[in-house]
Symmetry: C2
Subunit: 222 residues, 2 copies
């Protein structure tokens, strides 16, 4: 009775023991997502997580090296999932523009339902990405972590969509900048609309984010 089960593979560099390999590990990831959403990354601790899942702090450290690693794991999971959605949705589209438009749609749409094909609640994860993901790479250790491949999935998504931009207009000079601006921008706009509305034009309900970024991309490259 389970729906289509997609396996999101995460680079072993991002964990000590694969959380997907045990019930306890899955519970850790699942509950950590809820807790980070509720209390914010700063106030979230492994000790609290342990208590919440009826386990122990020390057990969590056997899966993740640190709180920061867990965040990187979640972010990476998210981008793998987005990559999957992008590939799945564009694979049979031959028209470049349509393909790009579809991708922009996926990158800008709000995540409102969980497909439940894994132990990760995508709706809450999306909220975490909006509020906390920038902390994953705004560290003094970025360069080392980048070398270890911590941000590979994010880079892959940006690359994928940048290539579509180049397909639409091979002469456009800055496809990667455009797409990373779009992706980061979407997260900011969603965050602003909830907390700093003076920085956006998003009105509750209507989804301007998609319309705005669609316009932005196509007007810029054509």
């Amino acid at each position: 009775m389970k729906p289509l089960s997609i396996h999101i593979t995460i680079d072993p560099a991002l964990y000590t023991k694969d959380p997907a390999s045990s019930e306890l590990g899955k519970k850790m990831v699942q509950k950590s997502i809820e807790m980070i959403d509720e209390m914010g990354f700063e106030k979230f601790t492994f000790k609290k997580l342990g208590t919440a899942i009826g386990s122990n702090e020390s057990s969590i450290y056997r899966y993740f090296e640190s709180k920061h690693s867990l965040l990187v794991y979640l972010v990476s999971w998210y981008w793998s999932w987005v990559e999957y959605k992008l590939v799945f949705a564009t694979t049979n589209i031959t028209d470049s523009r349509e393909k790009l438009a579809k991708s922009i749609r996926i990158l800008t749409e709000n995540v409102t339902e969980d497909h439940a094909f894994s132990f990760v609640n995508e709706v809450i994860l999306h909220k975490i990405i909006i509020a906390e993901s920038s902390k994953a790479y705004h560290t003094k250790d970025v360069d080392t972590e980048n070398q270890k491949g911590f941000y590979k999935t994010y880079k892959r998504v940006v690359q994928l969509v940048s290539d579509m931009v180049s397909e639409v207009n091979p002469d456009f000079e800055f496809p990667t900048m455009l797409i990373s601006t779009l992706i980061e921008g979407v997260h900011h706009q969603r965050y602003f609309s909830e907390h700093l509305p003076a920085l956006t034009n998003v009105t509750e309900g209507e989804d301007c984010v998609m319309r705005f970024y669609n316009q932005l991309v196509f007007n810029t490259i054509l």
Copy 2:
């Protein structure tokens, strides 16, 4: 012999005692900028700052409520300074497009020299803004802090330039989104070009950032 001395006024809500009011306070701000740049916000502490300026942890707490408040202070200082630059540079321009172009230039240019009109080193501060500023508002307390006016100067800058966008094209629906996308985007691109080059098209030396965002804004609104 002092150059044109501009007074950047900071909202008293952002400090307990005005650091600009004493030599010690100025030293705190000055040194904190250097230290946050060198070791990153996470590893920076008031104790270390105290030692570095030959003062005491407790004295710093008399100026700033917390490490976080200090960051908010610095971010606010930065935006007040940018606002000053914007107003100064555009005040006599009558042509809307030229005014907007000039503003985009100011928002996208790299800060390479310190005007030394205050105790703040703008070059290093700019680096901090790129690497750490998002942490100022990615907190669980955003809403409370926003109500207290912590992000006023940032919002004012966005508003100022959004209005110029509307002046160029009154029918454009999303001026605020466009400008906050631009501002955040510039910081991201500069960060990426240094740490995650796969996410940008910025090549060392040449300044594509300005060109790209100029193109982006004008193509989007016209």
